[in-house]
Symmetry: C2
Subunit: 336 residues, 2 copies
């Protein structure tokens, strides 16, 4: 699926700023970080790689345009949120034992756990540095909100980790975890440009809720792709989320239904080891037949609709509304 | 060695605030963090454990008293710097493969790498949250400086890691790394109370340089204890730093001397594995006989003298000068 034009427009603007920010870090940290961002190969050779969608910076920039400001004002926020997002990707890949990301070895696989850990730490601090060095009341407010969103994101990841030790997780628990893990930072992304513009609180909040709901839709789709996504397109192994018996949304829906399908899935998940290829195939068929995939996609649609509704009621520019709407639909219909 | 009375006085004040801050984090994160801080056992039972010296909060609080302010004003800074310090301890123990800290299994050993990693991330963000939620120009300034000190600390840790892959490291390179890894955060600690008090820049800077020089002395002593410290007192295995062939100060001094001792040490270090007990004993004797221990202790003394000199020239209260001086001497003469 072709990504919206607006993502490319923003990327042309934000990517050089992201590169400049990262260059402030000490030389020892750069190889892992430049590799992770898709700017360089493992050996440090510049190469056009898949850098990811830069969804969060795009939302950030559009949230400044949404309130009638030039997009330049949003750039520190756009850079900061992408730094936090990528620190979390690098650390989460270690935590989840994910060996691949965007068709390449993940950072810890390409380098080492130690190197990836410290690189993530550096990006984490850098994000706050980018906002605090601006030194305006708006950028301090943006830093404060980023701290809160990051805390929530980390608590979501921690909740996700505890799910691994539970035999079953309810839909509500799963949703709460995903709201923290993904919703908070997307809510931040979708409002930081408005915050940096000094927009009124009501508009900032409406944009934040749009992003939060979009985040829930995003994560639901992510969960579907994590089981049924095409490895050639997602860049991750088939059934990746099932291997480690992740309690993602389709899984939690089936597990908490308390019927014969729940019991069958519980049985497959009862092994102490990772699932093997054959078990992954069985589990994904079982979850699909039990309606877990469909229910998750319905959930994605529900939150997409809510997101658009909030956006529709916000006092923002019409052109930007259309661009944000296009991104929202792209996010829910994407295949990678 | 008995710790100065002032450390206990500050601990009584700061420890409850530290506990309160950490309690803001989500329940999933608490077991690792409360264990790491020495408040609870692995099983979550409250138990009086060794919590560490809380050196940084003490310096922070004293730096407010130094400029004639009540120590309460320094508390957010004292808490924040201890949170950053402990995030770095938790992550560094993973990176360095250190299995023990303060006579107990380190966080990643007691729980898991994943749990320790996310717990460290949570403390990292929380530190900035503590300062930013105060919302005064002084606390924003303190947050900005903490971001800078943390960035420097991380770059120092990254440099230390690259040393592992180098056959030899010069004294100057080692000193530069230690200034970043330890000096920056101790410099911050020793000035944040003054910054939060709105003290003049000259006094803040003098206090910062005092802490920075003290940090260099602290790290030199740490390096000596890392090789020759008594495991019963330090809580770490004997010769801990030599096991992984760490290029600490005594090692770098001997390695870069370009004489027969350097060659002998290079030869012991040439194994791809960790050093075994016998090799550790041989290496530590070699470094001691080659003067590495003595030279490092002289370095500690040199920086201690400089620290006191800067403090002496700063426009601060005399009682506080005496307390800071006492702490400085304690740091350099400590045995754990």
């Amino acid at each position: 699926m072709k990504s919206p034009q607006v993502l490319n427009r923003v990327m042309e603007l934000v990517e050089p700023e992201l590169v400049n920010s990262v260059k402030k870090l000490s030389d020892e940290l750069l190889p892992v970080i430049e590799y992770h961002f898709g700017w360089k190969t493992i050996k440090g050779i510049e190469a056009p790689e898949d850098t990811g969608k830069r969804l969060r910076p795009s939302l950030a920039v559009l949230s400044a345009e949404a309130v009638g400001r030039d997009l330049e004002v949003a750039i520190p926020g756009a850079v900061a949120v992408e730094l936090i997002h990528n620190f979390s990707l690098i650390h989460d890949d270690i935590i989840d034992g994910d060996k691949e990301r965007r068709h390449r070895p993940s950072a810890w696989t390409a380098f080492s756990i130690e190197d990836a850990l410290i690189a993530g730490d550096a990006l984490h601090t850098l994000a706050f540095q980018v906002l605090l060095e601006e030194n305006t009341p708006e950028s301090v407010q943006a830093a404060r909100r980023l701290v809160d969103a990051t805390t929530t994101m980390i608590s979501g990841q921690a909740a996700d980790m505890t799910f691994d030790d539970l035999p079953t997780v309810s839909f509500e628990e799963c949703l709460k975890m995903e709201a923290a893990k993904t919703g908070a930072l997307l809510g931040y992304s979708s409002s930081v440009g408005a915050i940096l513009s000094g927009a009124d609180e009501k508009t900032c909040n409406a944009l934040e809720v749009f992003g939060y709901e979009l985040g829930l839709a995003y994560q639901a789709v992510d969960d579907v792709l994590g089981i049924w996504g095409d490895p050639k397109i997602t860049g991750k192994p088939a059934g990746n989320d099932l291997r480690e018996k992740k309690k993602s949304m389709p899984v939690s829906i089936v597990l908490s239904a308390n019927n014969s399908d729940s019991e069958k899935l519980l049985e497959i998940f009862s092994t102490k080891e990772d699932l093997d290829e054959e078990e992954i195939v069985r589990a994904s068929a079982l979850i699909e037949n039990a309606g877990g995939r469909e229910a998750t996609l319905e959930e994605a649609d529900k939150h997409l609709k809510r997101a658009i509704e909030f956006l529709n009621n916000a006092d923002i520019r019409k052109e930007t509304f259309c661009e944000l709407e296009e991104i929202a639909h792209f996010v829910v219909n994407r295949d990678s």
